[in-house]
Symmetry: C2
Amino acid sequence: MARTLEQSFQVRFHYAVEFTSHLFDTSNAVFATTVGQQRSACKVLVVMDDGLVAHHPELPLAVTEYCQVHRLNLVAPVMILPGGEAVKQDPVNVTLVQDAINMYGIDRHSFVVVVGGGALIDLVGYAAATAHRGVRLIRVPTTVLSQNDSAVGVKNSVNAYGKKNWLGTFAPPFAVLNDLHLIETLENRDWLGGLSEAVKVALLKDEEFFAFLEAHADALRTRNLQSMEHAIYRCAQLHLDHIATSGDAFEQGSSRPLDFGHWAAHKLEALTGYTLRHGEAVAMGIALDSTYAHLQGWLPENDWQRILTLFERLGLAAFHPLMLQSLDDASDPHSLLHGLQEFREHLGGQLTIMLLDSIGRGREVHEMDLDLVARSVQILATRSPYSSSGPNPSAQSPEEPAWTTTAIPAP
Amino acid sequence: MARTLEQSFQVRFHYAVEFTSHLFDTSNAVFATTVGQQRSACKVLVVMDDGLVAHHPELPLAVTEYCQVHRLNLVAPVMILPGGEAVKQDPVNVTLVQDAINMYGIDRHSFVVVVGGGALIDLVGYAAATAHRGVRLIRVPTTVLSQNDSAVGVKNSVNAYGKKNWLGTFAPPFAVLNDLHLIETLENRDWLGGLSEAVKVALLKDEEFFAFLEAHADALRTRNLQSMEHAIYRCAQLHLDHIATSGDAFEQGSSRPLDFGHWAAHKLEALTGYTLRHGEAVAMGIALDSTYAHLQGWLPENDWQRILTLFERLGLAAFHPLMLQSLDDASDPHSLLHGLQEFREHLGGQLTIMLLDSIGRGREVHEMDLDLVARSVQILATRSPYSSSGPNPSAQSPEEPAWTTTAIPAP
């Protein structure tokens, strides 16, 4: 006897990404409307980023007051957890969130609301997605990077085995609420860092958007809110369009067409012990892979220069000294080049790297010439502020560069 | 500024459920074909149920030999973990599987293969679904219950906070391979227990299948393999059809139309400290809710009697003494009635219970009359083997009934 039953079905997902300001001002109806009509019957648990609370100490109480005024069933005082990549490093943070989900009887029709940066959103999303096989998650991203990229997508994760996002699921949110007021108090590193994902998606999908970023580079660097609002909106829109039209929202294939510059970025984050932030690392990864694409003869000289110039004008460094480490040995886990293998392992299947043919048009390749990657790093090194031929140091972020801190692990 | 981006997309899933025999006999190509054409490039990690190994001590080495002959890249000796609900109670078992996934570099295009009963399949599935946001899982269910029900579906889970399946995800398998030879060595409790899901799906969907089960009840109870093969195949087919056509494969709504009898079953499993097996508990839950549906005037007397008679002839008990505990107090966690609240909490939203209008036709209700549930229990109690009016004890499973063991926690 040998018989086969073939199973085939589709699952439809829908969610809205709302752009608003002063979300928890009692006069703003967006949050209450999102929770829905039968709001008093639905439980709400709110988790907030301590980095946000440091800048907005009034926010936890504002949430409580908002829920009272709008008759939302807030089951507990706002729960405050650390923000930043560190929160994803310790599994106890997942347990803390799930303890609360269990204790307050949050079910699949209740709401977990996470307010903060991309790392905390990833972690709370993972806790929510695995509790009861998924309770409803409302994301309130409060950084540029999370508003324009990570929080509008379908992934959640924590780190494990020293590897970024090793644990996670694909689980779309119930809704995403972008509060543009909250990004005003961001540290400059986080304001600027988030722009690298906008540069990335413009490079892959939309030359006109790239031209916008060029035209508004000074305004963006000097924290013009209106320019930033447009950059976030368009970046989020391109990201959402990609997920909806890629035909592979849950990444069952080998390709991750939005991960331009990310093999090097993920590795650099790990090499610096996560003192380099994701957006900063992505800028370096894009600069590197653009240089590589140019050296291969694909990306024209002029396009390549426009990319590097834009990063300089945005105050995003294109180079980090640890990129030079063990460049002759891709098998050394301390080498940037080892990131290629780690990137392939995370996705599985054939190595697939997104590069560029021109601004606005990507190109997928299945192998990388390691010598040419090393030459690309060298070229970026000679342009860096540590080199006499580098750009004007005044174009750098006003903050101390991350690599001068003492937190970098020894190679 | 208030703008909204609406996101909407679908994800397509496909997998095959193969019915075969002697899967790891080197002459059987099914497993190698499932791993695929580029088989030597794909890593394979196999996890096996210790209960299965006890009956088939040759199996771990047979897997190794099979992989050698078919040039499959088996990365490690077969990993053996405990079977049964106990494995889902201890989170260290998830960690053990994920440690191996990490250590052997299993990626999203590699395979984790789980060979065993439904509980181990649930656990390994959860570990695989959350590693790298999901590595490929091949399920080789070896019990009646897992071959006809749990392993052909889209769920995985472990227990937490003392609650069954509290942690889990929706993640379809890469493939399901049902080896009919392996069920021949099942303990009688597991052989018979799996039939309750077949009775359930027949009652909800297919009167003709119910008639088949009636006609073959004696053959099924006396372990006729051919009758069991058909029962498993048809039950799996009805289950798969339901998932594919329900429009809610990932249970985003409030309804779980296949969970007939399950609110009481889940609670009874917990009340007995999981000494009662899932299939045994489901038979009791179905008997209870069928009786309730009859007392409500929905299910005709004759249909109700056919159901109880079929369970008797299959050797599946319809009653457990713990069902009588605290029947007057639904708020007591030791009462069966508390299971209604737990069932609603797990799904969220409105309480939705599937009952019966007739054999082959379900009816959903949103409230249960607790006095009538209590009366239904009393009626089953008077029919039980502990009552003088009960069925012929020879119709019971030859094994010791679960509730005579000492493992039952005190109320």
